[in-house]
Each structure stands twice: as C-alpha cells, then as structure tokens.
C-alpha cells in the first residue's frame, strides 16, 4: 500500500461511516414538542374505530388506544415477524394454532385511572365477534368476519386471556396487530367512543373541536417508560386539498395525511420545499372493477373475462396515476406488499400480455363468442362513486371497453348511495376502490371474495376458491401458504371475479424534524405515534 493510499484511509473511513451510518432514526430521541398532523375530514364516528372502516378515523384515533399486539412501528414491512406486544407482554400459540394465549402487562391504566385487565380484552373481542353472551353490541360491526373463527375468549386470570379457535388460523395474530383492533374499556359504553376516548394509549384526548381539530396530550401514566416522546399531537381538519398542501408547504403541518399525496403533488411539494422528506409507500388500496355476476350480461363469464382483457393496466397507471401506482392482483404486489403477485407472475393473466393489442383481440373474440359484435355492441351502465379518483379511473376504463365493443355510459353515484347500491347488487358494472387493513390474505379474501360477505360486491361465489381460502388460512407452513395464496390470486383474476387494475402508491410526506414516523405498507397500522419524536 503506498503512502497516498494510506493517507486517504481516514477520509475513506469517514466516507464509509457516513454511507453505512444507520438512518436518522438512530439519533438519540428527544423528548418534548408537539406535532401538527393533517386530517382531510372530520372523524366520523368519533374515535369508535370498531364502528368504521375509514383511515379518517383510524389515523387520528390510534394514539389514544393500544392493541394486544401491533406491527412494529419502526419497521416498514408488516409481517408476522414484525409483530410486537402492546397490552400483551407475550403470547403463545398452543394446540397446533387452535389456542392463542396472551399474557397481559401488569400495571396498565386506562386514561380515567381504572386498571386494565383481561376483562377488557374479553369484553372487546366478545363484542366484536358478537358472542351470544356479549355484554355490549356495536351499532355497526364492519369486521365481524375477522373474528368469525373465534369460538371463545376466556379470561383465565386478570392477566391472561385465551382465544379458542374453531380451526387453526395463524393469520388471526396479524389482524389483531392492525390499527383496526384496539382494546376498548369494559367499564365504558362503546357508544361513548363516538364522542370521546378512554384508552390506554400513549396520548390522552385533550380536546375535539368539531370540524377544526383533535388535540392529544402525552399520557404521563403510559406503561412504556419514557414514551411517548412528544408532549402532544394536534390533528388539523382541513377540507380543501389546496389549503392542505399550502399548509404543509408553509410548515404549519408537520405530517401529511396517509394516502393523500399523489406522485404529481409530491413532485410539486419537493420543488417548492426541497427539504421535505417524501417516502413512496403502498396504501394497500386498489382500483378494481366490480361486475354483478347475478345479472346479465355479467352473469356470462366470457363477458366478464372480456372486460378484464380489455383494460390495459400499465396504460392506466401512467394515464390516471402518472406512474404513481403498481400493477398487481388481489394482494399488494412486491416490493410494497408481502403476498401479492409480482411482475413476473402477471403475464398470462387477463390484461397483462406484452402487447395490449393482443389483449384487445382476445377480448373481442370473447365478446363475439358471447354474441356481441361491432354491429351489435354491448351497451351497459357503469357506476362509480362521485369522487374524482373514482371518476378518473372509470373514464379511462370506459374508453378501453369501447375499443372492444362495450359501450358503457357513466353514472356517478353519491357517497350516500354508493355502498347501499353495491351491497344490494343494484348495478351492472362499476369502477371501485378497495382498501385493506393489514396486508394479509385472510383480511382480504374472506371480506371481498367470500360467498355472502356484504363487501363481496360482485357476489362472486366459487366453492373451489372458498376451499382454497380456508386451506391457506389453516396452512401452518409459511412457504406452502404463500404458494396457495398465489394460486388463489391467479384463479380470481382468471375468473375475473373482481379484476384488479392497480395498487396505489402514496408519497407520504413529513418535515425533516419528524423522526421515527415510518410509513408501512398499509396506511391503517402505523398511527400509534408512541415512538415518534421531534428534532425541532
């Protein structure tokens, strides 16, 4: 080694230490400070996470609560390996995944000072699964299906709870780790969460000024010593998109709303304020086509398949999302998701031929076999929700369908009517968006493809697929389960059960002083704020 090289060594070491240095999260966290976070609409219904299915409630309500277990807020990818204990200190699967035992933390207090015990856990999950002897009932119970496999919840002692399952279901733990699975207090009526919040979480509700903001303060009695770092959180409700963006740009907001920032908006923000930290991340929300399989013409599988072949997904990603989305099947694709089919698995599925013209030709052939020709086109009414992100996608799809002889007229449905109409099956074909809580096959398949599920809007029902879904749910070998999940996704696309068009990507934006707020592959699970600190 010559002298020059030896002399260069210290600089090389410095350079290497910079390059290999852990990310900013390894800085020593500081206590104090308040963050202003963006909300785009009012919390409805208040903090009652169990009565809603919208991120607008989960995001601002999560800091008030704890789950039994949670996806590690410091790890961006959610899987069974990233689950950590919250109210449960540890847990154990027993009897070949038939019994799930939680050992609860001691000394945990609700925000009103009462002690947390196994009674609260039993109360919450008996209410959610609508047990015959449940002491309370929710007004609306959107995720009842998640807990359908629980036969009993037993409070063995004040600090031990056993979930007894009808059949093995390793995925239950993932659903319990979602932001949608907080533990409610047994001594508080569930309805009271619509107006206030008694949780065990790192932050206590200070004030909810309707239509303006929700403010939390640090919970001094929080069971994790030294947490949370922040003194408070303020979620500002800003209805106007332009104002939200201006407020973020001006530094009045420290954190954007998850799922809010499109690729174009992110580029504008970065140009205006280069120091903003923008992280592309999956929303776990997909664009899809629902077709009523119980009504003509979509009771004909050939017509459904023709629709799926006709839509050029990659062109849609560019035209509608300016590249801010990924193609995939019914679970979020890699690298954002864990279970989804990747690019190499998609060719061969409807809509993914190398040449879009080939797909169109297949679609026209199928239409001809179904009795429709350019002289005798199929005329249908396409419904969509009267919101820009729905309408943009629907307009693109209508244009694609026209190219294969399907003339669709667009009917916009107001929000108040959208879900009643979809649940009733009062439509022919629709352009839809579906958000999924945890990135897990059980949470998705049973809800959106299960026979008789109220959110299975297409009313697709296949005995074969049903069996496969059960089989993967009970599969204990992770590798085999992945294979089964891949097979189900391919089958669903081949059946055009609910053709998936793309998976949207959020460009989650924060100011650089916001530390440890790491977006996950699902927007519903990283809002606890326990580890977040401010370097201001």
């Amino acid at each position: 080694m010559n002298r020059a090289r030896i002399a260069a060594l210290p600089s090389l070491v410095v350079l290497l230490s910079l390059v290999l240095a852990p990310p900013a999260t390894s800085q020593t966290p500081k206590h104090g400070g308040t963050l202003n976070l963006m909300l785009r609409e009012e919390l409805s219904p208040g903090f009652a996470i169990h009565e809603t299915g919208t991120i607008s409630t989960v995001w601002p309500a999560m800091p008030c609560f704890n789950n039994l277990v949670l996806f590690d807020p410091l790890k961006k990818t959610e899987s069974v390996d990233t689950i950590i204990g919250e109210l449960a200190e540890k847990w154990s699967w027993q009897d070949n995944f038939r019994n799930l035992v939680f050992f609860l933390r001691k000394g945990v207090k609700w925000h009103d000072g009462q002690a947390f015990t196994s009674r609260d856990v039993k109360f919450t999950f008996d209410m959610l699964r609508e047990a015959a002897d449940a002491p309370a009932k929710l007004r609306i119970n959107p995720r009842k299906d998640w807990y359908a496999n629980i036969e009993a919840v037993e409070a063995a002692d004040p600090h031990t709870v056993v979930f007894r399952l009808r059949k093995p279901q390793p995925s239950l733990l993932l659903m319990l780790a979602s932001g949608y699975a907080p533990v409610y207090a047994a001594h508080v009526p569930p309805a009271s969460y619509r107006t206030g919040c008694v949780g065990t979480g790192p932050f206590k509700l200070k004030e909810w000024r309707k239509g303006e903001y929700v403010e939390f303060v640090r919970n001094p009695d929080y069971f994790v010593k030294g947490r949370p770092y922040l003194d408070g959180l303020k979620y500002l409700i800003i209805a106007e998109r332009g104002t939200r963006q201006a407020a973020l740009q001006a530094g009045k907001l420290d954190v954007a709303f998850p799922g809010e920032t499109t690729k174009t908006a992110a580029e504008q923000l970065k140009k205006a304020v280069p120091q903003l930290v923008i992280t592309p991340v999956s929303q776990n929300v997909n664009d899809n086509i629902i077709m009523n399989v119980k009504k003509p013409p979509f009771d004909n599988p050939k017509v459904r398949l023709a629709v799926s072949h006709a839509i050029d997904r990659r062109a849609l990603v560019q035209a509608v999302h300016q590249g801010g989305a990924l193609v995939g099947a019914s679970l979020a694709p890699k690298p954002w998701g864990f279970w989804g089919l990747g690019e190499r698995d998609l060719p061969g599925l409807p809509g993914y031929a190398a040449k879009p013209a080939d797909e169109k030709a297949k679609a026209m052939k199928l239409m001809a076999e179904a009795g429709y020709t350019p002289d005798k086109p199929l005329k249908v009414e396409m419904v969509t929700r009267a919101i820009a992100i729905y309408v943009d996608m629907a307009s693109f799809v209508i244009n694609e369908l026209k190219l294969v002889g399907i003339e669709a007229s667009l009917k916009q449905i107001e929000t108040a009517q959208w879900h009643p109409m979809a649940t009733r099956g009062d439509y022919q074909i629709g352009a839809n968006l579906t958000g999924i809580g945890p990135d897990d096959p059980d949470a998705n398949f049973y809800e959106n493809y299960g026979c008789g599920s109220p959110r299975n809007y297409s009313q697709y029902c296949s005995e074969q697929v049903g069996k496969m879904i059960d089989q993967q749910s009970q599969e204990l070998d992770p590798k085999k389960r992945v294979e089964l999940v891949y097979a189900i996704q391919k089958k669903l696309e081949a059946d055009a059960a609910r053709p998936i068009l793309d998976w949207k990507i959020d460009h989650f934006t924060v100011w650089p002083h916001v530390k440890n707020l790491i977006p996950h592959q699902s927007i519903y699970n990283f809002g606890r704020m326990q580890e977040v600190w401010s370097d201001k």
Partner: protein, 317 residues
Amino acid sequence: MKTYVLQRLVIAVLTLLGMSLVIFTLLRLAPGDIVDILFSTAGYVSPSEKQAIMKELGIDRPYWVQYLDWLRQIATGDLGKSYRYDLPAWQIIRPLLPVTLELAALSMVFAVALGVPTGVISAVRQDTGLDYVLRIFSLAGLSMPAFWLGMVIILTLVTWLQWIPPLTYVSPAQDLKLHAVQFLLPALAVGYRSSALIMRITRSALLEVLREDYIRTAWAKGQGGRVVIWRHALKNAMLPVITVIGIEFAFLIGGLVVTERVFNLPGVARFLVDAILWRDYPIVQNLVMFIAIVVILANLLVDMLYGVLDPRVRYGS
C-alpha cells in the same frame, strides 16, 4: 310604521313556517340517509342493523311525526341531537354562528367601503379614464370567484412569505391581531366581489339621479359639488344600493361555503355542506332555518331603511 313592522313580523313567521316545510321535504327527497352514510364508512350495509339504527335515531317514524317533532323542538328551544356527532345540535351549531356572521359583516363593510365611493367617483367622472379604470376593476371583481381569489391569496402568501393564515379559529380574546388577520383576508376575497356589484349599482343609480331636474336646480342655485352629490344625489340613489347590500349580506350567510373551506374557517356554510352530505337532518334543518331567519331579518332591515332614507315612503299610514 309600527303597523308595518307588525305586519312584516307576522309575514316573517308565516314565511319561516313555510320554509320549514320546504326544508324538511327537500331533505327527505334526497336519496339516502344518515344510516347509509354510517355504513358507507364501514363499507357495507346490513338491512337488519340499518333498521335498528333508524329506530334509535327516530327516522323510522312517519314523516309528519318527525316534522311536528322538529317544530316542537324549535318552539321549546331544543334543536335535537346531531346524528353524526351524537351531541345536542345547538352545541354543534352555536360556535359556527359568530364565525359566519363576522365574516359576512366584515365582507360587507369592505364591500360598501370600496363599492360606494368608487361607484360615486365613476358616475361623477363618467366616460373619463378614471371611470374606465374603475369599471374594469369592478368587472374583474365580478368575474373572479371568491374561492379562486382566496386560493390565489393563500398560494401567494405561501410562495412568497412561507406563511399562511391560522388554520384553526382564533378568537379575539385569544389573539386580537391574529383574529383580525384570519378574517381580513377572506373578507377581502369575498368583499371584492360584492364591492364590484355595489359599485356598478351605485354608479348606474347615481347617473340616473344626476339627470333629474332637482339636481339641475341645485347646480343652478350654485350649491357646491360635494353638497349636490353627497346630500341630494347619493341619498336618493341609495335605495337600490341598500337593496343590493341586504341581498348580498343574506346571500353571504349561506354562500360562503367555498371561502370558508379555502381559509379553513369553521363557519355555518362549510358545516352545512358537510351536514347535507351526512344527511344529518337536525343540523341541516336548523342551520337552514337560521339562514332563513337572517335573510328575513335582512329584508326587514332594508325595508326599514327605505323609510329612513326616503321620506316619501310612509308605511302603514
């Protein structure tokens, strides 16, 4: 005058009663209800659960029972309970009223302060360069929607100063200066449009009056320009201007939707749109009634001012 006021008050009460029926009916004609919206946030609808919630909220009862119940509530000062918030409607509505009333009043003050003098100058200097400039200025005000102007103001402030007005309501007691800033910018955006309208009406009304014989007589008597314009001409030209001001103020109470959204002010109009989307009947019904009351009071006030400004107007005598 007393008889006239009494007559107008009786008519006002009857109008409000008619309004209540119209509001109630139109709201029920809109498709969907609060229960559909509640399920919408959950992503599905369960018919049996829907029925239970409708019963809980009392919207399963016959319409006429619901209507009479609402009238009874108004008469007793109990405005019912918000479906969306599960709280007394008055508790939700009360903080909204001062915000909108203040914004509308400030906008009108700005509009009158700008619109009337420019209208007078424009009329007096008819067909001069100044008249053309002022007319273009007013035409621009009429052409630019207030929400667009509001957004331009916000974006300009952010881009140039990295500053934006407060995003939550700041009461005068909290910080008077910040409160003033918070209301001044939207008032300017809204008031500019109204001032343009007032300016044009003032100008045309004044031009008409200035051609009257008595104005020529005043000039012939050698009276000063200021006296002729401000005392003789403007006073008589003000009747249509007052009418426009009354209509504009009433319009602003319910018409500030987009401005309140852009400046993130928690006022009546923004909340009303939200409540309509949620089919929150108790909030919508009572807010629209509030707007109706303001419109009727504004009209009443305008009629009273006619009598004050024009001695030829003698009501009830």
